[in-house]
């Protein structure tokens, strides 16, 4: 699962930073049919979480009510230099993860 995640490369300590996540995923609702009339099984990303230096700062439970290629934007306070770790998992158990680092000054 390809993902595009935007985290500022550097920030001042205490600054509120914006994080944008865009994951390539069909978010199959389970209500659509394929060409021969079979129901396509539901397959959505159900959990998405963001850890900042090992501490969870954001988590989302998603459902079929979220668009295909889910986009989530949220905020966090830049506290220390380190890593953001993003993980998500879909109904088929397929897990995705991405790591981004930030340099915090001041």
């Amino acid at each position: 699962m390809a993902a595009k995640i935007q985290v500022p490369r550097e920030a001042k300590r205490g600054e509120i930073i914006e994080i944008r996540i865009l994951i390539q995923h069909p978010m199959e609702t389970g209500y659509r049919h394929d060409d021969v009339g079979h129901l396509i099984k539901r397959n959505v990303i159900n959990v998405l979480s963001c850890r900042y230096n090992g501490v969870e700062v954001f988590r989302a439970d998603l459902s079929s009510g979220i668009s295909a290629n889910p986009y989530v934007q949220f905020y966090t306070v830049a506290e220390a230099s380190g890593d953001f770790e993003f993980t998500w998992i879909d109904d088929e158990g397929l897990q995705g993860s991405e790591r981004q680092s930030i340099v915090v000054k001041g």
């Binding site: 659509r32 700062v57 989302a60 439970d61 459902s63 009510g65 979220i66």
Partner: protein
């Protein structure tokens, strides 16, 4: 009946439905699972949806909660409910004091024109909500493409 009484009565009957609507949470049974029966008040939460969405498959949504986001007073979670989607609880977002700002942007699927509700749970245990109505021209979930 005097003209004055009649007018007063008319004004009262017109005002009543409005106040009743403002007090009752339209999605109470569903929200009850989150609130455990606690009252959900209108306010603090701002839900922004376009008034008209051409395509229900991807509708931008913004939820902001008026909160200082400190250790003592912050938003714990935000729950999104749809009136007409087959899965009515669209998403739950869990935040904390480290968020700095209680704002979430995303994109949702909407099966038809409806009212969307966002419920926020604060660290003091109170619940707040806001609703937004959206007209969807092309509904999600129905097209087979």
């Amino acid at each position: 009946m005097k003209r004055r009484d009649f007018l007063a009565g008319l004004a009262g009957s017109l005002a009543l439905p409005g106040t009743a609507l403002a007090q009752v949470d339209p999605l109470d049974p569903l929200v009850g699972g989150v609130t455990n029966g606690a009252p959900v008040k209108k306010g603090k939460v701002t839900l922004v949806l376009p008034q008209l969405a051409d395509n229900g498959n991807s509708v931008p949504i913004r939820i902001t909660v008026d909160s200082p986001m400190t250790e003592a007073d912050h938003v714990k979670s935000i729950h999104l409910y749809s009136e007409r989607n087959p899965v009515r609880n669209m998403a739950n977002f869990y935040l904390g004091p480290r968020a700095g700002k209680a704002e979430i942007n995303s994109r949702v699927r909407l099966a038809g024109s409806q009212r969307v509700t966002a419920v926020a749970k604060l660290s003091d245990g109170s619940f707040w909500y806001d609703t937004a109505s959206v007209v969807v021209t092309l509904s999600a979930c129905l097209d087979e493409s």
